[in-house]
Symmetry: C2
Subunit: 575 residues, 2 copies
């Protein structure tokens, strides 16, 4: 490909609205163009990367015995009503009416379509296990599309669905898929990613894992044990709570705290540490409008997701007055709540003495509250976020915190879809069962952007050899020199004929512009020839990632480049 | 791939609602499943064909210098308003609102997206010509989806867009694209397709060509000259009109024709041939509500598409009373029309004498009307359909009629999009122009279905080697025979290791079921081994298309199959 004809412009300026490395560089290097909020066109270099990532996924899915299929983007309401998700998924799913006024949706995931495909097509136990997968456009109407391809509304996804007759069979297959995903991300070139236990969210099912590219720009908070390799999304992370003093409790005293309502204000007013307080968080359960009251140690933060799982409902912040509570003065003693209220005590409170907590009386708190003495029947559950300094629940090591981008996830779905959609498999004993499903998804654009977050530097993109749009950026300088121009054309032909993927900067521009462009575009190997290198019959090689520079005799260029490329690919794939 | 694990069931019955060969067989052979009207999932065999067709297209587009990109499926209203098509395209385009209540559309074609991608990205004359293409899902809300993949609402399309500084440059590139399309269809395996002049419809522009798979099940009527290879879609076909008598006209007479209003009734009443009459067709122009009156010889039929081009407006049937005309008695003499009316004379009337035509008086016609004497200033245009028995305008041969399926089309778009969207190219002389565009589209599912219409027989599908889901259908019989089973597994391994694409029918079922399934699935080469063939250490080969049968020693199986496959591919690709 000649750069002079490549569609796309490279720019120096940071584009408006882009504030994450991958988004900025993809725009600056001419890889993507925004068409609408969270909707992008891929220019030729990005599409080349896209196809290479797709091929890696195809290979790994095929190795698992996966069969590639294609589901529709536009699906009828009826299909999504069978699983109950037509109503349970809210405005993240786009709905539309066709010309016959029929309700349709844009596919944001394809469990229903997968079950629909197999119903009546796969009916016997000996046809299982099987896995189907597709690579297809999905649309999720994100409330806050951001960060370019990382949280786009329209994106290409590889999604796979497996079907099993027993949980053991799913477990065995799930393990293989788990490993295949690790291979995929390694082959894409990720060096810094981890697998964490996930939350199943709208998918249903119990076991799930998220593959996280570890990067400070990630949206997700991660908890990692450096010793035993426990790792988890903050949303579901657990820990050993740190110790607290267990001094015997004094007698409860009611104290005037006035306008001190937040934990910080109360602590400042009483000159105590937050870990000697118990705070309350109030929600309303969406399911039935009941009050949900959660108590935790003052220096801990509520984990709404964990709490939602106990309540089995979405939660919204409660209007405390509606329930007769005094915001800032809520405690668990002298409580007078509506009958259908739910009260939870976080594990951080367990065994604590001499606590300060709200008195359920305007402008008053209680001192010297004892969990064991004053609420002897409390049951403790884990509803708080893991906190800096806490220890691994498995090995006791102090946990570390980082951030990540979810680049893939795998789920054990159970029979949620096959049951609601009534898909049956005939078993050897004549009975019928709903098969057990697993599903496995990777966003391709998000993988593409995340590898940039991992690898790019201040000069521009840095592509791993396995997914680079081209392998070689051929950058002859001084093309006004006839000798250079002739040799350049000849070398380009040689390299192309040898099957190398070469981007040929055939523009007669200054070395500054050409070299800067090559750094911005991020192709792994840069080959420079110039009147100077020609004197020695050499080409100058620069490796984009390491910055390493060396010379190769022009006569050996093609064969040496082949070796380098093979070496880079082997290095990535074997890891 | 083992057939026992292949997702999909083969059935004998013709499925409800399917009445065209490709639709019936794709359903019966387990290739597709309907998800909604005109919306299908592709099962693994169809997806394999789909990917092979895509690869042929990629290769041919890349040979043309095409750069692969990806546009979004969901686009904002604003993009389509720039070209004016947000309003001009009616309910064929699906509209939806996103969660922010913003108007969006589903892409049914991507001219706007192509121009949007290149705007500000390609700005200089020396970057042109360039062509970008994508392979992507499209949605067209067809009023009457039918015939399975042939007229589906959702489908995968390869669409390409080229940009040029001059008409000459477009012409030269258009010729290359024209040839590339011929190569694509040949490589897919079409033997019976033609290129006809097309109608540009909603695309704009003037020159266009349609690639038509010739088949009786086609929706389009085609006109073909068997001598000079003129061919055209009936919609735009032209011909030499047949001769008529030119007897000198007598004097005009007004005659009472009573209730005889249609041409058939008038001819029966007066005992004359329809070719001695002139009939009128009345329309209202959508543009301004004006009357459009077209006269043509009584035995000819109006071609609305041709007429629309002269009027430059969509047409709807007119209410004759509204314009003071007597339906069934309209003629071109004694006409009294509103000022903004349009009157057209078809070429079929040129030079005719002694015509019967309406008298513009209730229940009366005129006799002995002469075109030359009575309407000496008439201008004749071609607004009628070509008729059986008429001759080629180029060589005079009698034209033939057939039917076809449009499998591809190419258009010269002019500057319609670059002008309305204000895309500018800087020229060497400092001026700016709107580049001239071409566009080039192939529906992949429609190609897949049309090759079935051409090739399939009463037993089932017949795939050309270049796009077959697998090359070899390996069908060992009597798998309960341990010797057969062992050799079969070994041969399957040998063939797979050698890179052959093999579907292995590993089911221990009767020969009848297995062979019938193989014929239904349509894989080019069937390899049978059985206790009988094993005695001679041979495998029986059956070529699906020709029915040819022969034996190959088992020891030579892999090498001979390789030869056969290579031969078949060469045969298709060289044609």
């Amino acid at each position: 490909m000649k750069l002079s004809k490549l569609v796309g412009t490279r720019i120096k300026e940071v584009p408006n609205g882009a504030n994450i490395k991958s988004h900025i560089l993809l725009l600056r290097a001419g890889y993507i163009k925004q068409v609408s909020t969270g909707i992008f066109s891929l220019l030729p270099p990005a599409q080349r990367v896209n196809l290479k990532i797709q091929n890696i996924m195809r290979e790994e899915m095929n190795k698992l015995g996966g069969q590639e299929v294609q589901f529709p983007v536009v699906m009828p309401r009826e299909l999504w009503e069978m699983s109950g998700r037509y109503n349970s998924i809210k405005s993240e799913m786009v709905r539309l009416k066709d010309r016959a006024n029929h309700d349709m949706v844009l596919g944001m995931t394809h469990e229903e379509a997968a079950v629909h495909m197999l119903m009546n097509n796969v009916t016997s136990y000996d046809e299982l296990p099987c896995m189907i997968y597709q690579i297809q456009t999905k649309f999720r109407d994100e409330p806050r599309p951001r960060a370019g391809l990382i949280r786009a509304r329209e994106f290409t996804m590889k999604d796979a669905y497996s079907f099993h007759t027993t949980q053991e069979d799913l477990d065995a297959f799930y393990k293989k898929a788990y490993d295949a995903y690790i291979r995929i991300f390694k082959r894409i070139g990720f060096k810094n990613f981890i697998v964490v236990e996930g939350d199943n969210g709208m998918m249903g099912g119990k076991v799930s894992h998220e593959y996280m590219a570890v990067t400070p720009s990630g949206e997700d908070s991660l908890v990692i044990c450096p010793k035993c390799h426990y790792s988890s999304n903050m949303e579901v992370a657990v820990s050993k709570r740190d110790e607290n003093d267990h001094a015997v409790a004094g007698d409860i005293e009611e104290i005037f705290t006035g306008n001190a309502h937040t934990i910080e204000e109360v602590c400042a007013f009483l000159e105590i540490d937050a870990k000697h307080t118990a705070k309350a968080v109030c929600y309303k359960a969406e399911r039935d409008g009941s009050l949900v009251l959660a108590f935790l140690r003052g220096d801990h933060e509520i984990n709404e997701l964990k709490l939602q799982k106990f309540v089995k409902s979405e939660l919204t912040p409660a209007d405390t007055e509606e329930f007769g509570l005094y915001a800032g003065n809520i405690g668990f003693l002298n409580l007078n709540l509506p009958q259908n209220s739910h009260v939870f005590f976080d594990v951080s409170l367990k065994g604590l003495e001499n606590l300060v907590t709200g008195a359920n009386k305007k402008d008053f708190h209680l001192k010297n509250v004892s969990m064991s003495r004053d609420v002897p029947n409390a049951e403790y559950v884990d509803i708080s976020l893991v906190k800096e300094g806490e220890r691994c629940i498995h090995c006791g090591e102090v946990l570390q915190f980082t951030r990540g981008i979810e680049i893939g996830n795998i789920f054990q779905l159970g029979t949620k879809y096959t049951n609601t959609m009534n898909m049956k498999i005939n078993m050897p004993d004549g009975s019928q069962i709903n098969p057990i499903m697993g599903c496995y998804g990777i966003g391709i654009g998000r993988s593409l952007a995340s590898i940039i977050e991992e690898k790019a530097d201040e000069k521009g993109l840095v592509w791993p050899m396995t997914i680079a749009p081209w392998q070689v950026h051929f950058c002859p300088l001084r093309l006004d020199d006839e000798n250079v121009a002739t040799i350049a054309d000849e070398l380009y032909k040689q390299m192309s004929d040898a099957g190398l993927e070469v981007l040929y900067d055939d523009r007669n521009l200054s070395a500054g512009i050409k070299l800067t462009d090559s750094e911005l575009m991020g192709i792994p190997i840069r080959v420079v020839i110039s009147p100077k290198t020609m004197q020695e019959q050499q080409a100058e090689i620069t490796m984009r990632e390491s910055g390493e520079k060396f010379f190769i005799p022009i006569k050996d260029l093609v064969s040496e480049l082949k070796e380098i490329i093979k070496g880079e690919i082997d290095e990535i794939e074997k890891k």
